[in-house]
Amino acid sequence: MPTNLSSRWWLDILIPIASIVGLLLVWWLVVVAFHIPSFVLPTPMATFQAIGSDWATIAQGILVTSQSFVLGFVIGSALGFLLAIVMSQSELLYRFLYPVLIITQAIPVVAIGAALVIWLGFGLAPKLFIVGLIVFFPVLVNVLDGLHSVDRDSINLARAMGASRWKIFTLVRLPATFTPLFSALKMSATFSVTGAVLAESTASTTGGLGVYLAIQQSRFNTAGVFAAIVVLASIGLITFLLITSWEIAATPWRRTSVVPRRRRFGKTLAAAASGTGEQASVEAVHSLSRP
């Protein structure tokens, strides 16, 4: 982890912005330099214009698609997380369920789209199913890995202290799943947007972005197609950013050496002395708390 870079917050913001601007610039340069006609690849400007001119429909599409995407994402990851916990409690269950889960992953989502419509109808259900299926497996596998990564001796130590199974689970095993859980969520964030679009193209009658994309495609409106692509990519990107922020807040030990302010011992005094550095504030607490 490049701590020397991430310690300056403005670099955390500036560098990604610069890289996105750079990407748009390359896109624009390619179109201009190779004289690519706009029906093959529109310029970034033309694409943004297309988004602006059709904003009412696209905004509606964002709402519809986000709904199935967010719901499916939350349900899929929650189920993956819960099943991982259940499977970690029983070796037998683990061995029994693992092959079944691998099979669910081997099924191509595209292929079952039509079947899902027959089973679940044209509503939200088949979309949630497809998005959920995409997050479900990475979350399950990563959380299981996290639960198994806990040192046997750590658990023995907690047992020697007379801790209950539940306390050992919540204090020793559960926090070990955070880091792998967030990896899985970040990995699937962008991928499940694709899942939502795919689901809409097979099972949607309402105006989601997937439907919008299909319509623009059938009209050979390349700018419209790219408008949809850019909006979809943005949804994936924003989700990724939200998850990353949550990860930073939830796993502070991975990037800082001191616990967050609210967990600090002598935090009020430390807060009063903030800005003078960690050492100074701790010293202040130290000297003040002595009678």
Binding site: A158, S257, F265, V282
Partner: protein, 259 residues
């Protein structure tokens, strides 16, 4: 087993036998330790030292025999003794202070008083500036200090230390030994200490239990009759040399005879 102190018996292992399938890890082992004693256990790898500790800490129920603390049968019952290993086993997501109060957290809530007590102890033992640090931001020596304080804060009465300083460099190790003796004197704890280092065992202990493997059993108990506080120069005291020679002979003597 010839101590004639007036202190009451703190720990008793009575006729312990531990089998792992066909492997006899401990064969008919009995040991009595008085309150406030510092006893070390040495012996070759696999002679059952850690097994003995697992039985005393209650996480392993022996095939036969019983373990007592303060006369109470605690065989197979965890939660009566503090336990520390070579690995510090600090939880990476908890601060030094939160790791010290882990025992309390595992039994419910950590009160403000618990935190205050832990902080006072940490400051007294030179960890004041690192109360709020995550383990990854601390040196190996500091982490072991935190681990020992976690043990102290959970059960200062009886502490089982299984090669606690085995992973430290010799400099830090010496500091930690002196610190441990200081803690022991201040708290009056009963300490059972496993090490591979015969010098460390003699330097720290009132008695040194020498074990032999296959099957694991107690071979001899050496009474270390050197006054406290111990000093570095005691390491070259003729009595010290004699104890060391005896212990090494017990551990390696058989191997030499066989060669």
């Amino acid at each position: 087993m010839t101590t004639t102190t007036a202190s009451p018996v703190k720990i008793e292992l009575r006729d312990i036998v531990q089998r792992f399938d066909a492997n006899l890890a401990l064969d008919n082992t009995s040991l009595t330790i008085n309150e406030g004693e510092f006893v070390s256990v040495v012996g070759p790898s696999g002679c059952g030292k850690s097994t003995l500790f697992n039985i005393l800490s209650g996480i392993l129920t022996p095939t036969e025999g019983h373990a007592f603390i303060d006369g109470q049968d605690i065989t197979g019952q965890p939660g009566h003794v503090g336990y520390m290993l070579q690995k510090d086993l600090l939880l990476p997501w908890k601060s030094a202070l939160e790791n010290i109060t882990l025992g309390k957290a595992l039994h419910g809530r950590v009160s403000t008083q618990d935190r205050q007590d832990a902080a006072d102890m940490a400051r007294r033992y030179g960890l004041g500036d690192f109360l709020n640090h995550f383990p990854h931001a601390m040196s190996g020596g500091m982490r072991q200090r935190v681990a020992l304080m976690r043990t102290l804060s959970f059960a200062r009465d009886v502490m089982l230390l299984d090669e606690p300083f085995g992973a430290l460099d010799s400099q830090t190790r010496l500091e930690m030994q002196e610190w441990l003796l200081q803690v022991w004197q201040e708290t009056g704890s009963t300490i059972l200490f496993v090490t591979h280092d015969v010098e460390e065992a003699i330097f720290l202990s009132d008695r040194v239990v020498v074990m032999s493997p296959r099957p694991g059993r107690i071979q001899e108990i050496i009474n270390v009759d050197i006054e406290r506080p111990r000093r570095i120069r005691d390491l070259t005291d003729p009595r010290f040399m004699a104890y060391k020679a005896r212990a090494l002979e017990l551990i390696y003597g058989n191997a030499k005879a066989g060669a």
